[in-house]
């Protein structure tokens, strides 16, 4: 055990901080501390330009292997990169789905052709991705996916029909990875495929969903005879579930480090506000802030413990990783509540019309979704109890 950074790592820190300091200026200045969770709708064009700027400096995909265009940073360096990125106030990444999910999944499960075709666009910050998992009838019961994919021999294409929902950033994305049923007679986890779909085509329609924040980050996505090249299915038809679950492992791995630093910025804002408006004099508020601080530290330590314990190359993490989603979602929801209590009576007053929420108000509303998307807290507890603790499985009701 060694809980400190080496001199080399600290030198890397100086390099990251120096680059951000020199480049997060001018047209990008206004992006500082913007674009995080609940704020993803802001400055989309400027943030896309920022992705390319990052790429020019070699600061996208820092943890990817060099052979795939990454910077091959160690875990320590990735920790440091995310820390400095947050400290500089650099904006929420519009490329995070491609970098954190698509890329690692293709590196682990994709064909050589897929890697060649898709990885460079992610590294260069030019191609953005979204995730097509949930459907109206497949939320908590994700395996109940109904979107169908049939192979058209004449066109040499997979043809997709169906609907996805809660698709974050679909309106900005160039591509979507989609799980769809390749075997129409199959049920549950079997008979699924994992497809890479181009968004800009006649068979794909995107409709934004207005959220309780009054803004739209996620969408409905309709596939009506949407096309997908024969070589753009990851793994074989029928392997979709395996690939989809591998991807979720990446979601709970290194990409957590960046998320935690966004949380840190939010918490810092709450602490600063509590000091300014006097809420910090209330002993109960002090203790709640102390607790939030301690728990965020623990999330970080736990991620580092998990990552230094090493994950498999297929994205699989140790059993400990099962608990991450439940913990951070619950913590973040609590932070939203704490932020409102720190704001006091002013928490209901908007900055401006029409429906212009400030960052903390927006966060407070947004965090209500945290304990729902990506597996509700209730589903997480089932998984933890059954797979983590080995408790008896709930009897499944067979669909008629």
């Amino acid at each position: 055990m060694k809980l400190s950074f080496s001199a080399q790592d600290e030198q890397f820190r100086t390099e990251v901080a120096g680059w951000l300091n020199a480049n997060l200026t001018g047209e990008f200045e206004k992006l500082k501390f913007r674009g995080g969770p609940g704020d993803e709708h802001t400055y989309p064009e400027e943030r896309k330009a920022w992705e390319k700027k990052l790429a020019e400096g070699g600061w996208t995909c820092v943890g990817w292997p060099a052979e795939h265009g990454g910077r091959a940073c160690s875990i320590e360096q990735q920790v440091i990169f995310f820390e400095e990125y947050a400290r500089a106030g650099a904006p929420g990444r519009v490329g995070h789905i491609g970098e954190g999910l698509t890329g690692p999944t293709l590196i682990a499960f994709g064909s050589e052709a897929q890697k060649e075709k898709y990885l460079p666009g992610i590294v260069s910050g030019e191609e953005l991705w979204c995730q097509g998992y949930s459907e109206p009838g497949a939320g908590s019961d994700l395996a109940n996916v109904k979107t169908k994919a049939r192979f058209d021999e004449d066109r040499g294409q997979w043809i997709l029909n169906g609907q996805k929902v809660w698709t974050s950033l679909a309106h900005e994305a160039d591509y979507c990875f989609v799980i769809a049923r390749t075997d129409p007679d199959s049920v549950a986890h079997k008979g699924l495929g994992f497809f890479l779909i181009k968004m800009d085509q006649p068979g794909v329609e995107i409709r934004p969903i207005e959220q309780i924040t009054g803004t739209s980050e996620f969408n409905e996505v309709f596939f009506d005879e949407a096309e997908c090249d024969a070589q753009d299915i990851v793994g074989a038809p029928g392997d979709g579930w395996k690939v989809a679950m591998g991807l979720l492992g990446f979601e709970r791995g290194v990409s957590t480090l960046g998320q935690q630093m966004q949380f840190q910025n939010e918490l810092d804002e709450v602490v600063a506000l509590a000091k300014t408006n006097g809420a910090a004099r209330d002993p109960i508020i002090r203790q709640r802030i102390a607790r939030a601080h301690a728990e965020l530290k623990i999330m970080r330590y736990n991620s580092m413990r998990m990552l230094s314990g090493q994950s498999g190359s297929d994205g699989s993490l140790q059993k400990e990783a099962l608990i991450y989603k439940l913990f951070w979602a619950t913590w973040h929801r609590g932070l939203g509540e704490l932020a409102m209590d720190v704001m006091g009576p002013e928490c209901e007053i908007l900055d401006d019309g029409p429906y212009e929420l400030n960052r903390l108000q927006s966060m407070y509303l947004f965090v209500r979704s945290d304990t729902i998307y990506g597996g509700t807290n209730q589903i997480q507890r089932n998984i933890i109890a059954e797979r983590g603790l080995g408790m008896p499985k709930e009897p499944r009701v067979t669909a008629k």
Partner: protein, 348 residues
């Protein structure tokens, strides 16, 4: 940066766990409740033979010279079996305190601690009472701003019953000759570090206790049937257990971090310890509450072993600084002007 334990540390943990689980059965603990002292000198000799009483004693005094970080996993195992003997207290509090005091006192007592011939305990005002004073040969006692050393014949004891029948607590007054071993700032610093080490030991034991309660409850809810199936299959039951599992898993990293921080004498050690103590004891308390619930009425009986671990967990939560004490320490740390917080202060 590396958050893992070495192969040696993990192997040692395994072998100590095997020994403790075999020896310190619930039946043996219940038998100790019936004995006069509640302590078993034959067992202490066995612990000494395994090198455990001398783990943290410097090699020059015949010990193994191991650190708090080496011992923390063993303290978890002591918690797992609810070991009544004061091993964690001795290794994490009394021995390091004797080492810090140094001089003749250390020369005289540390070799005997290593061999298991003598027991030393520390009494801090934070704890109100002194645990295991009745079996101690030497007592290191906080008296206001001073720290004094007194041998067993120089103190008088009044036994106070604990809710945990395994705990033996005493009000100690010095009746005979006692030597002042530290005063003023030096005493304060020794008291502070002893409190931190004691809190680390309580936190580590709380992790083990929570794990034990989970194991007992997973077993029980897998066996017990109602409505034609194991009750553990019901979400209402398994969610109780999942909440405990999450709380426990997240408490491990801060405890290990605190052990590292103390072992490396980091300036933030007290802060790290407070975080560890809060989280570990919260996990153990939640385990106690939820595990008794999923046991149903059986969990409320003296006969079922669950309460052995529950009661120890409650005792740990309020020893070496209760939750209020440690929360206040964390809050004060955060609200200090210029505190190292936020990005870049990961290990600050």
């Amino acid at each position: 940066m590396d958050f893992t334990f070495t192969e040696d540390q993990l192997l040692f943990q395994d072998s100590v766990r095997d020994f403790l689980v075999n020896e310190i059965t619930p039946e043996r603990i219940r038998a100790s409740w019936e004995s006069e002292s509640g302590r078993d000198s034959a067992l202490w000799s066995q612990l000494a033979e395994l090198g455990l009483t001398g783990m943290t004693v410097p090699e020059a005094y015949g010990g193994l010279g191991m650190s708090e970080l080496d011992f923390v996993l063993l303290a978890q195992e002591c918690g797992y079996v609810a070991l009544p003997e004061p091993l964690v207290h001795s290794a994490l509090v009394a021995v390091p305190l004797l080492v810090d005091i140094g001089g003749e006192l250390a020369d005289q007592w540390l070799p005997k601690v290593a061999t298991g011939e003598a027991k030393v305990v520390a009494g801090l005002e934070q704890n109100l009472l002194v645990e295991d004073a009745h079996v101690a040969d030497l007592l290191l006692l906080q008296q206001g701003d001073s720290l004094v050393a007194a041998t067993a014949d120089a103190v008088s004891l009044i036994h106070n019953e604990s809710v945990d029948p395994s705990r033996k607590l005493f009000a100690v007054s010095v009746a005979g000759a006692a030597a002042v071993v530290a005063n003023g700032d030096q005493a304060q610093s020794l008291i502070q570090s002893s409190l931190d080490r004691g809190a680390l030991g309580a936190a580590a034991q709380a992790l083990g206790l929570a794990q034990r309660m989970i194991d007992l409850s997973v077993q029980y809810t897998s066996d017990r049937k109602q409505f034609g199936q194991a009750i553990g299959a019901f979400q209402a039951v398994k969610h109780h257990m999942a909440n405990v599992a999450v709380c426990l898993e997240y408490a491990k990293a801060p405890v290990h971090r605190a052990a590292y921080s103390i072992a490396c004498k980091e300036s933030v050690a007290s802060h790290a310890v407070s975080q560890a103590k809060l989280n570990a004891c919260e996990a153990a308390n939640l385990a106690a509450k939820n595990c008794i619930q999923v046991h149903g009425a059986m969990g409320y009986t003296w006969e079922v072993d669950l309460h052995i671990y529950m009661k120890k967990a409650w005792a740990m939560a309020n020893s070496w600084g209760d939750a209020g004490f440690h929360k206040t320490r964390v809050a004060n740390h955060i609200f200090t002007d210029g505190a190292a917080l936020g990005a870049g202060a990961t290990f600050a």
